[in-house]
């Protein structure tokens, strides 16, 4: 059975409050969503809560899903929003006006993915969220700006600063 047909059956079941269908949908996306929630919150307990709250919102609002995007993308957005809400009070963005084009980031020293994981976890909440949403999850700056209630330019500058910090962390770790 094609993947999309299988997913449609699961969604139909979910819309009828079929618990097995709901469990199937959860199982299908749980790892992706849990990883996303953890990367944003940097805390497994908050990630558990975000996953739970996110899936409850998914089941509650599934009837409003029009199919304009992939179901996975829609669920990603819901879980990301819930996870952001968990750390909202830790995120403080500052508008930066200085030119960032003079700085060069070179990733050639990134030889081990474990270092990157450590470096991401070491970032402040705001940088980590923007980096995760843009680089890891593939959200656009416009979407990130809307989710975090910031401007597109702030999202871009925060991403660059996040990368710069990541570089510094990697340099320190590797050396």
């Amino acid at each position: 059975m094609p993947e999309s047909t299988n997913e449609k059956i699961i969604v139909q079941g979910c819309l009828q409050n079929n618990r097995q269908a709901q469990k199937n949908l959860y199982d299908k996306y749980k790892t992706e969503m849990y990883t996303l929630a953890y990367r944003i919150t940097n805390n497994f307990e908050d990630a558990n809560d975000a996953l739970q709250e996110g899936f409850l919102q998914v089941f509650e609002n599934l009837k409003t899903f029009k199919g304009n995007s992939k179901l996975g993308t829609w669920i990603h957005t819901i879980v990301a929003r819930v996870a952001i809400k968990k750390i909202k009070n830790k995120i403080h963005f500052v508008e930066i006006n200085d030119s960032i084009t003079n700085n060069i980031i070179d990733w050639s020293m990134l030889t081990d993915v474990r270092y990157l994981e450590e470096a991401i976890a070491s970032l402040p909440a705001g940088y980590r969220t923007v980096f995760t949403l843009y680089e890891v999850e593939g959200f656009k700056h416009k979407e990130i700006a809307e989710m975090l209630n910031i401007s597109v330019s702030t999202s871009k500058t925060q991403l660059f600063k996040a990368k710069r910090l990541l570089m510094e962390h990697l340099k320190n770790t590797i050396s």
Partner: protein, 193 residues
């Protein structure tokens, strides 16, 4: 500006994934079950009489209340007359006070029924002796506390009053205190009967 961006992209693709614990689904399952249970709770239709009563109240509240208004007006008029009378009476008293200070003082003292603090206490004790069950009621305790409080206020006012220089405001306050004390004693006595 970024160099070797493909290295970062490649590393991101290989980042570890995390699997949630089983209890996350158990919590979701519980929450869903709770929600389903709540939505399947029965609905109850109220009897027709409830709406009838509401309708009656609504139509009543829509009408003016002339009787109550008149009564309120009457009460307010009587209260205003009494107040004017009291002011006029006190003014007259203060004018007469220039004849004899001692007379003024005597009048004030005779206004109340409880001139002596001990007398007041004796009455309260007498009530308790005759009917002990009344004395343990919260109403009695409340009334007694209020009487004692009034007595303290009365003593303060009496200290401030000067026999040879009458003060109308203090006299009015004293009268009010004594009247309230009398009223409270009467209330307690009525309960013992």
């Amino acid at each position: 500006m970024e160099n070797n961006n493909d290295i970062l992209k490649n590393a991101i693709q290989n980042l570890p994934e995390y699997i949630p614990e089983e209890n996350v689904w158990i919590s979701i399952d519980n929450a869903l079950s709770k929600k389903e249970t709540l939505t399947t709770l029965p609905n109850y239709t109220p009897p027709e009489s409830v709406w009838n009563n509401i309708e009656k109240s609504l139509s009543k509240s829509g009408q003016p209340k002339p009787v109550l208004t008149i009564r309120l007006k009457q009460i307010m008029a009587v209260a205003a007359l009494l107040l004017i009378g009291l002011i006029v009476f006190n003014n007259l008293k203060s004018k007469n006070s220039s004849i004899s200070h001692s007379e003024e003082w005597t009048e004030v003292q005779t206004t109340g029924e409880w001139n002596d603090n001990n007398e007041l206490k004796n009455v309260l004790n007498l009530i308790c002796d005759n009917n002990p069950s009344v004395c343990i009621t919260p109403e009695y305790k409340q009334a007694k506390a209020r009487i004692e409080q009034l007595e303290q206020s009365k003593q303060i006012i009496l200290k401030q009053m000067n026999k040879y220089e009458p003060n109308t405001d203090l006299e009015i306050m004293l009268t009010k205190i004594e009247l309230e004390q009398t009223g409270l004693i009467k209330q307690i006595m009525q309960k013992t009967l």
